[in-house]
């Protein structure tokens, strides 16, 4: 193998084949895993292979996929269902969309394999309606798979039949939670409910159901083609295979990357991502979306797997990875995520519905310079309560962005509260722009750039900012060529 940091399994066909031509997929061993499973393996063998591979859910939870299938297999029922969770909603995440747009057949094939494994004859892909191209390509892929007899009745003469239908989500973030997703398919409100019973026991229409994420499924055909041992040979002790990340933020090479588990954050950010933009310093990397946390520099060399990320206060999540440079305000970041979860809370649990709103309000208070010591305690206490008393993952993990930033960047919270300053100069209420009279030569560039015309002064004479009118947009700061404007 070469010294490349990236290794593509889930993305193996993305950008290589024409996703609208099933023959291109077949030419690269497409549907061979399904053929092998249906003709040479029992459903029990199929489950055993996935268990042995060590594959775990890529949607974030990390539950062993084989075990999940085994539970659903053991629950007897006249009908069972396979669901593909394509309700990708983390800010900055687009792994699943890319797989569905670039290699839709891998997901269809894997769903049929899972159907055979648990004894299901029907599957649903729950996909957000905001992914029109992914939907278009899935529709074409389904049509071609049916025409070729790779879905439908008596697949490859094996006697096994499997149908897949698409179900469009309306964009509610909480519908990525499996019980809420099942409710939504049934036509009910997208609200989670208590587990147990787990979907493996009572899922869609109260029948045993397995819900798997897109990326998890995309790994399955390769596991059967290459063997469980091969797959289990990649990664760390507890996390096997690879993980796809959507690398975004203040990093030079943003993109979709797939790395073996156990790769370090430093390798992703600095080798694959080629470092921070504009030569600035690294501050933190956010993983796990609104459920995750911010990881500071001292943990950049931790090998990434499900356990290690949890151990440092974040989580694997679905694969969003946002890199932040030294000019990022961590309190502002926490506020951004809380605003998101506040919007997306379904409202069922009081703690999540009202608690997160209160957290958001406290953060607003702090970033506007009105916070006090008591607010910092409240943030911690309330975060704990919300985490302990919410029903689903959304509520349980919503305080994580606050908890992790408080853990690693407490000095920034203190600066906002006690010194009423924003060290990064992001929180506009706490930022002040001033002109250094000695450095200003009166070129008028700043006055021309000011959108609210609050900079006064004659040509070739020092200018002055009217602090009452200033909206702290920073336009003058960027326009000045003589470093005469200071930000504090």
């Amino acid at each position: 193998m070469s010294d490349h940091k990236q290794f593509r399994i889930a993305l193996k066909n993305c950008g290589v084949i024409d996703p609208e031509n099933i023959l291109e997929y077949i030419a690269r061993d497409g549907y061979m895993a399904l053929g092998k499973v249906l003709t040479e393996m029992t459903p029990e063998d199929t489950v055993a292979t996935l268990k042995k591979s060590g594959l775990r859910g890529r949607g974030g939870g990390g539950f062993p996929t084989g075990l999940k299938l085994e539970f659903a297999r053991k629950n007897e029922s006249d009908r069972k269902y396979i669901i593909c969770n394509a309700d990708e909603g983390d800010p900055g995440a687009f792994m699943d969309r890319s797989i569905l747009e670039g290699d839709p057949h891998s997901v269809l094939e894997a769903m049929a394999i899972c159907g055979y494994a648990i004894g299901a004859q029907e599957g649903f892909i729950y996909i957000r309606a905001e992914y029109p191209l992914a939907i278009e390509r899935l529709v074409i892929a389904l049509e071609q798979a049916y025409e070729r007899g790779l879905l439908g009745k008596n697949i490859l003469g094996s006697g096994f039949s499997f149908d897949i239908k698409l179900k469009y989500g309306a964009g509610a973030f909480v519908c990525g939670e499996e019980t809420a997703l099942i409710n939504s398919i049934e036509g009910l409100r997208g609200e989670p409910h208590f587990k147990p019973p787990y979907p493996a026991e009572k899922g869609l229409w109260n029948k045993p159901t397995t819900v798997n994420n897109v990326e998890t499924l995309a790994n399955i055909p390769t596991i059967f083609n290459m063997g469980a041992e091969w797959f289990a040979g990649i990664g760390t002790e507890t996390s096997k295979g690879t993980k796809v990340f959507a690398l975004a933020g203040n990093v030079n090479k943003v993109g979709l990357v797939e790395v073996p588990m156990g790769t370090t954050l430093r390798e992703i950010v600095f080798d694959i991502g080629e470092g921070i933009t504009e030569g600035k310093g690294f501050k933190a990397v956010q993983t796990g979306g609104p459920s995750g946390g911010c990881i500071p520099e001292q943990f950049l060399d931790v090998p990434i797997d499900y356990e290690s990320l949890k151990g440092i206060g974040s989580m694997m999540g679905s694969g969003g990875m946002i890199v932040m440079d030294e000019d990022t305000c961590m309190v502002d970041i926490a506020k951004f995520y809380l605003e998101f979860t506040t919007d997306e809370s379904c409202g069922k649990c009081t703690a999540c519905r009202i608690g997160n709103k209160r957290l958001y309000e406290i953060l607003q208070k702090i970033t506007s310079g009105n916070g006090d010591a008591e607010d910092l305690n409240k943030l911690k206490e309330l975060s704990g309560i919300i985490r302990d008393t919410s029903l689903c993952g959304l509520g349980q993990t919503a305080p994580n962005p606050i908890l992790s930033t408080m853990k690693y960047f407490y000095d920034e919270y203190e600066a906002h509260v006690f010194e009423k300053t924003c060290p990064a100069g992001i929180c506009s209420s706490l930022t002040k722009y001033e002109i250094d009279k000695d450095k200003c030569i009166g070129c008028t560039l700043c006055a021309k750039a000011c959108p609210v015309v609050c900079i006064k002064g004659k040509v070739r004479e020092p200018h002055v900012i009217d602090q009452d009118k200033c909206i702290k947009c920073g336009a003058c700061y960027k326009a000045c060529k003589f470093d005469a404007i200071t930000k504090s």
Partner: protein, 126 residues
């Protein structure tokens, strides 16, 4: 389209098409990354430009393929040229005009357009 009736049928079909793709007589493939990200960056125009130039020049044995995301968001739109028997070449930041240059230089004359080449920094399972 014919139904595939058995695992053996499927294997035969796989062998037939994989041979066709990898044979020295196979068409040159020009792959345009056309997932949502690529299209947003202008891959649709690039695709049209490539297809138009191939028609205009009357090039035979060249296929243009609409593929998914190659992962290089930092350099969209991306185009990969796969000539049978040669190392494939990945181009980044392609636009309609550059696409024509790639066709005329790389496809017609065999000169790689070095300024636009992106290093492929990943391994893929076969």
């Amino acid at each position: 389209m014919k139904k595939i009736k058995s695992y053996d049928d499927l294997k035969n079909l796989r062998d037939k098409y994989s041979k066709e793709i990898s044979s020295p007589e196979a068409d040159t493939r020009i792959i345009v990354g056309m997932a949502t990200c690529g299209i947003a960056a202008g891959a649709g125009d690039v695709f049209d430009s490539i297809a138009g130039e191939i028609m205009k020049l009357g090039l035979e044995n060249v296929t243009v393929v609409r593929a998914g995301c190659m992962g290089a968001c930092h350099s969209e739109p991306t185009v990969e040229v796969v000539i049978p028997g040669e190392e494939s070449v990945l181009y980044g930041n392609v636009d309609s005009a550059r696409a024509k240059v790639i066709i005329n230089n790389h496809i017609v004359r065999g000169d790689v357009v070095k300024d636009l080449v992106l290093e492929k920094k990943y391994d893929t399972i076969s």
